[in-house]
């Protein structure tokens, strides 16, 4: 009761507010799902959908005729294609429906290839089929060739998408985590109730950043470890640089979340605003496909988006092993977003 009472750390307002924020979050099963489980499901789904199977073998159809037996035998010797034999009418149907990429018709004087040159795989199939037919008839390569195969980790789609998902997750939980909690507190007049206590406003906002830190470690680790150990996504950069990028990105998005939530009084209102801010970045900032696909006039704008900066920095670190100096421009973009959002949010924040 006395003012001289010694305070344990656990009795500090900052600790208490961070703790209650943490408890409030983990007791919300949906929030836990969207933050931790969903990104992993997403990575797993994309990883499986785009896993490396090697290119499909071309399907070659042989039209039955008096001289087709030898052609079929030659084609079947080649393991890089799949050859089937068809009757006249069935052969054309197979070509039309895409079951085969090319038809081979044998004549005593030679063979004819029937295919649609506009189909991407048809030209390749014709080349492969012709090689098999010529070889079967005794043709020999003039220059000796050998092949050596490589499989480089880091160039697969899953390697591209995991850093993108990490960036998207940092943005989502920063913006949703702060935005929703603050607007709910304002809507339920809890913010106003706090204003009637000696609580310090700076500590209130700081408690959000601190609880973000706790979750940051958890959500980054789950996604990275999953990607690394299940799909072999490389982690070529230093852990220190990677942590610094994640930390800066998380604070930058939290500041943006604070700004988005600084005036709104209803959760419906803030949801719309958050989607309005986040949706363009999901599309433009290179989460699922490279932002280089957009026209070059749009590039300066796209590069200035915080999610583009976060994704580029994460990819440079994880896939190319870039250190902090190597991602300095991206870090600068994130710092600018953080400082501007935070400063503006503090100016216009509605406490009641």
């Amino acid at each position: 009761m006395s003012e001289q009472e010694r305070r344990a750390l656990t009795d500090h307002p900052l600790y208490q507010m961070t703790l209650t924020r943490f408890l409030g979050f983990i007791r919300e099963p949906e929030a836990v799902f969207w933050t931790f489980v969903f990104p992993i499901l997403m990575a797993a789904g994309l990883g499986l959908a785009f896993r490396q199977r090697g290119p499909d073998k071309p399907h070659v159809g042989v039209v039955k005729s008096a001289s087709s037996a030898a052609t079929l035998a030659s084609l079947r010797k080649d393991t890089t294609l799949i050859a089937e034999s068809y009757d006249d009418s069935a052969a054309l149907r197979a070509l039309r429906t895409g079951k085969v990429a090319v038809l081979v018709k044998s004549f005593p004087a030679g063979v004819r290839y029937i295919y649609d040159p506009a189909r991407g795989d048809a030209a390749t199939a014709r080349l492969v089929a012709n090689r098999a037919v010529q070889k079967g008839a005794g043709s020999v390569d003039v220059i000796a060739t050998t092949d050596s195969y490589i499989s480089e980790k880091g160039s697969r789609y899953i390697d591209f998408v995991v850093p993108g998902l990490l960036g998207m997750n940092l943005m989502g939980s920063g913006i949703w985590g702060l935005g929703f909690a603050i607007v709910t507190a304002r809507n339920q007049k809890l913010l106003k109730r706090y204003m009637a206590t000696p609580m310090k406003r700076s500590q209130y906002l700081l408690s959000f950043l601190l609880s973000r830190l706790v979750f940051l470690v958890l959500e980054v680790l789950t996604l990275l470890l999953f990607g690394h150990y299940v799909f072999g996504v490389p982690l070529r950069g230093s852990v220190f640089a990677l942590s610094a990028i994640c930390l800066l990105a998380a604070f930058s998005f939290s500041a943006l979340g604070l700004l988005i939530a600084s005036r709104a009084t209803t959760t419906e209102g803030v949801s719309g605003l958050m989607n309005f801010i986040m949706l363009p970045m999901w599309i433009l900032s290179g989460v699922f496909f490279s932002s280089a696909n957009f026209p070059s006039v749009a590039q300066p704008f796209i590069k200035a988006l915080p999610l583009t900066a976060a994704n580029d920095a994460l990819r440079a670190n994880m896939l190319e092993g870039a250190n902090l100096a190597g991602v300095a421009p991206e870090m600068l973009v994130l710092v600018v977003w953080m400082v501007l959002s935070f400063a503006l949010a503090l100016r216009i924040f509605r406490w009641r």
Partner: protein, 256 residues
């Protein structure tokens, strides 16, 4: 710690929202140790007045001194010494009673323990229950516990028993009476005249942003001339505070 003078002094308070004048030259004086009721129809300016006194709203003009202190000069010292229950606060549903109180307690320098306030509001059995699982009356007792945990000298309650069942109301009345008996000051608003009659030493009836009657509860009741009550009020041998209220503010319905 105790300074001299009234617990609450309001002089010529004015507050308008755009064209709507909510408080229009209101005066109040609440002595220390008093339970003071602020009565009035919906939209009379009660909540605006009490929120200005709580430091949540700023007045357009006028003087407000709480415990002899000025919101403009010593807001931090004032917040340490007052307890507040707002009309429509929803505490976080996912936290338990004890967790909620522990957090509110951490804001204050001089304070009660969590166990003390839980005992005061009789929520011992609900100590580890989530706020979301509490009944309306229990939530309201928790809201008042949050106001008491900072060991306040003055307690502001805005419609503390609105929407509660009779048992919960009586339990809150006991709580308020006990706080009052410890020598602290209470300022409350209510729509229930029986509540004001039972709890308040003095009341002020507010309408259109002004105090239209003020005095000791029993004296106000005695001053009513039963024959002047608008019909069809039933004649009784003695008046109630409700008679005072209706005779002063009329029978026209007021909406928020």
């Amino acid at each position: 710690m105790m300074t001299e003078g009234p617990a609450l002094l309001v002089r010529d308070l004015r507050k308008a929202y755009g064209d709507v004048v909510a408080v229009d030259g209101l005066d109040l004086e609440v002595a220390r140790g008093e339970c003071f009721g602020l009565l009035g129809p919906n939209g009379a300016g009660k909540t605006t007045t009490i929120e200005i006194c709580e430091g949540l709203l700023s007045a357009d003009s006028g003087t407000v001194r709480v415990l002899g202190l000025d919101w403009g000069k010593e807001p931090d010292a004032l917040k340490e010494r007052l307890g507040v229950q707002l009309q429509d606060t929803k505490l976080a549903e996912k936290l338990t009673v004890a967790e909620t109180l522990r957090m509110f307690r951490s804001f204050y320098r001089q304070r009660k323990t969590v166990d003390e306030v839980i005992a005061l509001v009789e929520l011992g059995e609900k100590r580890e229950s989530r706020v979301g699982s509490l009944s309306g009356g229990q939530k309201q007792r928790l809201a008042i516990a949050c106001a008491l945990v900072g060991d306040p000298e003055i307690l502001f309650l805005d419609e503390p028993t609105t929407g509660l069942d009779p048992q919960s109301r009586r339990s809150l009345w006991d709580l308020i009476t006990r706080f009052r008996e410890s020598g602290r000051t209470i300022v409350l608003t209510t729509h229930y005249m029986d509540e004001a009659e039972k709890l308040c030493d003095r009341v002020a009836i507010v309408d259109h942003g002004k105090v239209i009657a003020e005095g000791k509860t029993n004296e106000l009741i005695e001053s009513v001339d039963l024959s002047h009550l608008p019909p069809p009020e039933p004649r009784r041998t003695s008046a109630t505070l409700e008679d005072v209220f209706v005779s002063l503010t009329g029978r026209t319905l007021r909406d928020e």
